[in-house]
Amino acid sequence: MLYNESHKLPLSTAGKVTVLTTLMGVLVFAFIFLLNLGSKEFKTVEAQSTATTSVTVLNTPPQWTELAYEQTESSTSTPTNSGDTVTWVGTATDSNSENYQLLICSTNATPTPGTSVVDPQCGAGATLWAVSASTASGVQASAATTTTEAFVEENDWVAWICDAIDTNARCNSTYSTGLNATNSSPFYVNHRPTFTLFYDDSPAGPGSVVNFYASSSDADVIDTADTLQLVVCNDPDYNTSTNQCGAGGTLATSTLSTGDQTASYTIVIPTQDQDYTAYGYIVDEHGHEATGATQGSDSTLSVSNVAPSVSPAAITLNGGSDITLTQEAGETTGFTLQFTATDNNSCENASAGDEITGYILSVFRSGVGSSTCDGTSGSYNANNCYPSGVSSAIWNLSCTASSTSCTGPSDTTQIYDCTFPLWYIADSTDGTSTVSYYNTENWVAAVSPIDDDFATGTYSVGSTGQELNSLLAMALNTATIPYGELEPGTDTGTLSATTTVAATGNVGLDQELSGASMCPTYSGVTPCTSSATSTIPDFSQEFGTSALSYGSGTDLSSTTPQELELNVLKSQATSTQATGITYWGIAVPGTITLAGLYTGENTFTAVASEPAEWGL
């Protein structure tokens, strides 16, 4: 509060001196008169017989019993907002018990008394701020003025009290400028700020900072320039009483400062990508709002679309289990992939539909890498890369968004559940170096979620890979071993009959071979007896990896399986398998006398070959 020392007038004391002097004069005169100090003169008059006397007793002006003051402080720290009222109160008594009026003027120019129906007037050059109604003597009078923008910031005031009578009305020559620092002259008017432009720097995505800008100023500069604040509300519900946004809530507020204002707002996560209203209000440090078209205008906060994302830890391949192929020479279906996509625009769009609408994904052997297996159709390789870019006829990936995952606009996540097949040639990664060529790798999935605006997220590779187990599988695609017809004591000459095995799993093959002796009565439960005349011994069959001469091959054994290093490569095509041919020959002992069809059983046992021999 500014104490208005410079505006205190010393006339109050002077007036008292004048009155006292006058009274002293009257008293001296009365004293002399009463002591007959002038009896000679009176006698002289008496001697002149009688005389008519007359005196006009003037009306005395009202007297202050309570000097006038501002009823509500109006100071530099607590000015009166334009449009609000400044009220003065003061109390006077009149010796004649006549009514009086409180007159508030801008200067101490002597006012002109009024009448019972005409208000007193301020002195020459003074502005009349306010005049009270006619007030009974001894009753507090109240005068008020409603401030306007036209008022200057600082306004001196001087309070007078005047008779409110028709005859001999007088104003007390003593005036008041307040009682103390907080209620004395002058009064201050706080003008509304000027607000000419309001805008923001959106669009911006959730989590980003949006700045709201206001071109604003304030003309009030006494003591210190008035500071301003920008308040941005969600709704046009700024409350001028509380100086706060209403139920819609506050978006941003600036710190109090002079001049143009900037308020920042961090867009919460999640926020749907769309336009939002943002109403700007400028208010000064005294809670006085700007007026005009810009006040309460909408800068339109535009929340932009951001791409969804998938955290590597949120990608679960095959339910956390090893991948096991169970279809030799075919596709094993039913493998699973689950991923949780996160969108800072929420999982639900502004139309209550799905925000996350698609994906690019791949399932691949880790060594291939996500830059090679990038989701495009061109990266497809049934051995090691299954991208979503290929048609379902090639890779039947099926993904559905969980119907319960997205709980509404405040939820950022959407779970996707996928199933997919893998071909039998998918590279194994299990075991050690003696088991799998790619034993140091595993299979992983990479996902890029796509939103309803076709924004594609980062292609994230799952942090937890799964081993793809070796599938040791073999198929025989040879119908017969054409040993043909042989006479006892002869052989096939060379290993001319062949069997062809195909690698129908994801490993290279060798094979173990064993077989029983042949005879017309052989069955699995009834082996052949050792008969020189009707049993062809097991060792009469020979095998090899080429058409060797009979005798150069490996003898078949019924008791000791023989491993043949066939070295069938690991199959690498879905439609054709790597194969290996085994060459067979047989000799019919010369002791055989029983002619006819001989029955036997050979066992082909698939053995995984050394990974180095898989042809990779």
């Binding site: 949780t340 405040s410 198929a475 173990e512 042949m518 069809l597 082909f604």
Partner: protein, 298 residues
């Protein structure tokens, strides 16, 4: 005339090995092997023989040595059980299991060299004399949760139920020593809360894979957060990563939250101390009563 025909279209096994490098004496280890057929148009049986001279008696097939391969079934499991006897040498043991397919009645086509298909399972076992306490995190899950709530002056935090599928790769029961979360705001820049699991995490038996749950309290209001987690085995971080944590308004989910155990220490004390005081008062009262009775008797 001697001839042969292709009897079976194809046969395979997966995986083609039984492998364990952390067995101890008296360990029991089971491994499943799937036998697969591409064209199971007629029933067969699988005949299983173990060729492991040193340790054949450790090995058994849970389903028996002859396992039916029914018509129409493309895959049939067989379970190899290894029971390591007490007192065996600490070393590596290798052998094979041979699987041979045959007709259920062992009959073969007359006048031909029938061909039966089979596959070989490699056995590679190592018996060691030390405990290995280790596991592999195969899967994690972080479901949404309700935010915490107040009952009177007590604040019950929200409960994170962090699911983990653990494979025990050692030879003793194991559970994570610590599961911790660093929870950040949705931008991932401002750390809001650090919490560790509060429950006793179920231990997974040797060589088994099982689902376990870590429970962690969270004191954050409803919203979306970034959670950076760590799963530890002693000083070893077995897995760490970043997940989105969705805290929903209280009551959104019909799941149980924290009870007394979730309360802060001061809140726990605010319950326990008055109860203790009450008990002390009751005890003192009873003591005084008993003492006065004893005095009366005397």
């Amino acid at each position: 005339m001697l001839g042969a025909q292709n009897v079976y279209a194809g046969f395979g096994i997966t995986p083609p090995y039984v492998r364990n490098t952390s067995l101890t004496r008296n360990s029991v280890y089971e491994q499943q092997i799937l036998m697969v057929r591409s064209d199971p148009n007629k029933p067969l049986k699988a005949l299983i023989t173990v060729d492991a001279p040193e340790f054949a008696d450790w090995i058994s097939i849970v389903e028996g040595d002859s396992i039916p391969l029914p018509q129409g079934e493309t895959k049939v499991p067989m379970t190899v059980r290894v029971v390591v006897p007490d007192g065996v040498d600490f070393k590596r043991y290798e052998g094979v299991i041979r699987i041979k397919t045959a007709a259920p009645d062992d009959q073969v086509s007359a006048g031909a060299v029938s061909i039966s298909l089979g596959a070989q399972v490699d056995i590679d076992l190592t018996v060691i004399d030390k405990e290995i306490k280790d596991f592999k995190v195969r899967k994690i899950s972080l479901p949404d949760l309700n935010e915490g709530h107040k009952v009177g002056w007590l604040y019950f935090p929200g409960k994170i139920r962090f699911g983990m599928t653990l494979e025990n790769t050692g030879n003793v029961n194991v559970a994570p020593s610590e599961v911790s979360f660093h929870i950040y705001d949705a931008t991932g820049k401002v750390l809001l809360e650090e919490v560790s699991h509060t429950n006793r995490i179920k231990r997974v038996e040797p060589f088994a894979t099982d689902d376990v749950i870590a429970e962690l309290p969270v004191h954050l209001k409803a919203g979306s957060y970034i959670a950076r987690y760590q799963i530890k085995n002693g000083d070893d971080i077995k897995q760490e990563g970043e997940l989105t944590l969705s805290v929903l308004p209280y009551g959104s989910l019909q799941v149980a939250g924290y009870g007394f155990m979730g309360l802060s220490l001061s809140h726990k004390a605010s319950i326990i101390l008055p109860l203790l005081a009450l008990l002390l008062l009751i005890g003192a009262g009873l003591y005084a009563r008993r003492s006065s009775r004893a005095l009366k008797k005397t």
